[in-house]
């Protein structure tokens, strides 16, 4: 009988790889700075009802922030004058329309009383009255901050990437927040777009910013945002549904036909400095969860959604085909849902070794035999008796999908999570005779992010163990190449304004031989997960 996984694991991958530490914990703010002092020092009083004069000094800070005027709502067409930029050029909310008469509006709110962001980092929060309706509350950078950057990692066409300075995005509604992106993980779909310029019918037709697995800090909030304040560290959910169609109203927003998803053409992704999101898609990280762990919440939420689709309940047995990041996370989530037998399956032995350390109770190296024979061997190796209660395919590979149908028990559940060939030979008779329930799983829906964060905070899933290294933003392309090589699980790319305390000693050199192997394994695959 294969041994059960130990509680005390041997030295984990992350300890070996010299990961940059988490973002410095917040320290209590200095009581000597009052809001009034800040306001006086930093903001000119509003001199007329239809202009905002805002001046500030830039000083050194870990996260240079946009000028306040640049985050004003596009709904407000107003003049402003910033002493630090010319009104014609660098300020993003550059608008030359004539001043508007002030309008009474139900959304005009009172000053929001917000505790200053830690003064040790030099920031303070200020509410800037907006001439049209909303007040926007922002983080104000300390004196002498360098000019904020919104450098972005852009895909022009397959294998042709570049770094481009893009305008800092603006809040689109009073429910929006502006986030300084600090860490972004690389997903198989990002690599796939980089290589092929398309996934299915989504085709990159004009330069597109990559990335969607991110975490960062809120720097500005619209007036209708009650649950987040500037300074909050958040995990970012990168897909925004319409909220009005039948699927959205029925609670299945991941299926919204008008979904706007980061780094899925034609929408830009999060490998950039600043990102705008509706507040309900930004999830505050508890104090014991780092921003780097925050960047892992997105793939973990994918895994949560998959395991929920599989209806895993306490005492069950679960088999997961594919020991990539999603498969590994599914194993960990299944365990936290109470599964007592969790079997990881792959064609690469090294991945299974890691899986055993990480979350699996059993592993099985898939054989080049018929699907039925493979399933028989698998069930025996893992002591599954007549079959597993749930089988999750996180590989997309045709032989794995076929093996899955012979591995699941009578009356069990099969979930298709992996994406490979669009059409395959499927053991439909097995599905019928065994009365198997099959479900697809796509991205994540209501409650998945919240549970994912809870799993990290309560230490039920050790997402840090999947991170092989963190690289600076300027090394983004090397990171992509490294992921494609196939020897790493997860690499994080720091945001363009993020300073890594210790430079993650990740060797971004790529082994040509391993690259060939990875390419062969990925043959016929569409790849990607989001």
């Amino acid at each position: 009988m294969p041994s059960q996984i130990q509680e005390e694991k041997p030295q984990s991958v992350s300890e070996k790889a010299n990961i940059a530490p988490a973002y410095p914990p917040e320290s209590p703010h200095s009581p000597s700075i009052t809001k009034a002092q800040v306001s006086a020092a930093v903001c000119q009083p509003v001199t007329s009802t239809n202009t905002i004069s805002y001046t500030h000094d830039n000083s050194k800070s870990p996260i240079p922030l946009p000028l306040t005027a640049e985050v004003a709502s596009p709904l407000a067409k107003h003049h402003h004058t910033c002493s630090s930029c010319s009104s014609a050029g660098s300020c993003a909310s550059n608008d030359n329309s004539s001043p508007l008469a002030p309008l009474p509006h139900p959304l005009v709110s009172k000053q929001v009383d917000i505790a200053p962001f830690p003064a040790s980092l030099g920031y303070t929060t200020v509410t800037v009255p907006n001439v049209r309706y909303e007040n926007v509350t922002v983080l104000v950078p300390p004196k002498d901050s360098p000019k904020p950057q919104n450098l972005s990692f852009v895909l022009n066409k397959p294998l042709d990437v570049g770094f481009v300075e893009r305008p800092i995005p603006k809040l689109q509604s009073p429910h929006d927040v502006l986030v300084a992106v600090q860490y972004t993980g690389i997903c198989g779909s990002d690599v796939h777009y980089w290589e092929h310029g398309r996934i299915g019918h989504f085709v990159v037709e004009s330069p597109m910013v990559l990335g969607h697995e991110s975490a960062g800090t809120v720097v500005a909030v619209g007036s209708a945002v009650k649950t987040l304040v500037p300074g909050d560290r958040i995990a970012l959910e990168p897909g925004y549904p319409c909220r009005r169609c039948g699927d959205c109203l029925a609670g299945r927003y991941n299926l919204c036909h008008e979904m706007v998803f980061a780094a899925t053409p034609p929408y830009d992704g999060t490998l950039t400095g600043f990102w705008v999101a509706p507040f309900d898609f930004c999830y505050k990280l508890p104090g014991n969860v780092s921003l780097q762990e925050g960047a892992l919440v997105e793939p973990l939420a994918v895994a949560v959604h998959i395991v929920r689709q599989a209806r895993v309940s306490p005492g069950q047995s679960v088999v997961i085909m594919g020991a990539g990041p999603v498969g590994l996370l599914c194993a960990a989530v299944a365990k936290s849902f109470g599964a007592t037998t969790v079997v990881c399956v792959d064609i690469i032995a090294a991945k299974l070794e890691f899986a055993k350390e990480f979350a699996a109770t059993h592993t099985y190296l898939s054989q080049r035999v018929s699907a039925e024979q493979n399933a028989t061997a698998l069930k025996e190796a893992a002591g599954l008796g007549g079959g597993a209660d749930a089988v999750i395919d996180a590989s997309g590979a045709e032989p794995s999908i076929q093996t899955s149908l012979y591995t699941v028990r009578v009356g069990g559940t099969y979930v298709q999570a992996g994406m490979g060939k669009p059409d395959i030979n499927f053991p439909i008779m097995a599905m019928c005779l065994k009365e198997v329930t099959a479900r697809g799983s796509f991205r994540y829906g209501p409650g998945d992010y919240k549970l994912a964060i809870e799993l990290v905070a309560s230490k039920k899933v050790d997402v840090k163990a999947l991170v092989n290294g963190v690289v600076e933003f300027k090394h983004a392309e090397e990171a992509f190449k490294k992921v494609k090589e196939g020897q790493v699980i997860k690499i994080l790319i720091a945001g363009p304004n993020e300073k890594l305390e210790t430079h993650g000693e990740l060797d971004t050199g790529v082994d040509a031989g391993k690259l060939k192997e990875a390419e062969a394994a990925a043959a016929n695959s569409e790849g990607g997960c989001c």
Binding site: R243, R244, A250, G251, D280, P446
Partner: protein
């Protein structure tokens, strides 16, 4: 511009000419209200014609006749996002303070909460969206709200449907119009008899008279009356489900141990969810559930106060009272 029937204080109503409401959101529509029905709380059933649409409205055009779902949720809270928008704490519900209702010429609504009515339907037929969460099986109801529930249960494939009420006219309507398989008028309790004992006795009578064996699969409690809530629990078979739709006293004497020992499921039901309105319109359009007979009284807009007085009287021959919109 916009004659409106306004409640200023208890029993103090007045007609006011208010400004025409404006579209606040590119997904809003402006509706010229055609009919408003009066419900226990105030007015929940309404329909009208679209007169203006916001810039991003794709599903409706001016001139469309629509049924209005009067509760627009926030779309952002946990409940909304998981599809339970009827539980949204920030639900904007017409004629629930501080939001105005539809007893006016015009009403602004979100476009995804307006549903086109097929031309064959008379807009005067009221809509009660709460016709969608029904299952097959025997069931017990009371009151005119329950009567269409019977029709919906029948359309949904229920085997045997029993209507229960103390008002003869309602049982008659249930029989004639909604195709219930049987009706039952519970006898009054004897002087000094314990309410729960009486409820149990009546439920035994019901099970016997209609051959329900161990009991009904489903009970729809649509009256809110304490005695009926009790009867409902006792009439269920083991493992059965009771749906509490009726609103009466906040606190009742409830046979909770029976729920435990017989493995019952008790569910609350409030308003309606995604898909209910379209399903209701479809049932009415296809003639599977007739609502015409529920409308017993019609009033012109100028007679609104009289209409409310009539509902207040609680006469047994008055079911649904409709107030025509401002012409």
């Amino acid at each position: 511009m916009n004659p409106s029937f306004v409640l200023r204080a208890v029993n103090d109503v007045v007609f006011e000419d208010r400004p025409k409401p404006e579209l606040k959101d590119p997904y809003d529509v402006l509706v010229h209200v055609a009919q408003t029905g009066i419900c226990g709380s105030d007015a929940t059933n309404r329909s009208g014609t679209i007169t203006a649409i916001g810039s991003r409205v794709a599903n409706l055009e001016p001139g469309d006749r629509v049924a209005l779902e009067p509760g627009v949720p926030c779309r952002r809270c946990e409940f909304c996002r998981k599809g339970k928008y009827h539980l949204c704490l920030d639900l904007i519900f017409a004629a629930t303070p501080p939001h105005d209702g539809t007893l006016a010429r015009y009403y602004v609504n979100a476009s995804d909460f307006c549903y086109r009515i097929p031309d064959s339907n008379d807009p005067g037929g009221g809509r009660d969206g709460r016709t969608c969460q029904r299952r097959g099986g025997d069931r017990e109801d009371r009151g005119f709200r329950g009567a269409p529930d019977g029709g919906v249960a029948k359309a949904g494939g229920a085997g045997k449907i029993i209507g229960v009420d103390v008002v003869g006219e309602r049982l008659e309507l249930a029989r004639e119009e909604y195709g219930v398989d049987g009706t039952f008028m519970p006898p009054k309790p004897e002087e000094g008899k314990d309410s729960l004992e009486h409820a149990e006795a009546v439920s035994r009578l019901i099970k016997e008279e209609f051959g329900l064996g161990d009991g009904a699969d489903v009970v729809l409690e649509c009256s809110g009356a304490e005695a009926c809530v009790q009867m409902g629990v006792y009439t269920l078979k083991s493992g059965g489900t009771m749906v509490q739709a009726g609103m009466g006293k906040e606190v009742v004497n409830f046979p909770i141990t029976t729920v435990c020992t017989r493995g019952l499921v008790v569910k609350g039901s409030i308003r309606y969810l995604a898909g209910c309105y379209p399903a209701a319109i479809d049932l009415i359009a296809k003639g599977k559930v007739g609502v015409r007979k529920l409308i017993t009284n019609r009033f012109k807009f100028e007679q609104s106060e009289e209409a409310f007085q009539l509902v207040k009287e609680g006469r047994p021959d008055v079911f649904k009272v409709m107030i025509e919109g401002v012409q």
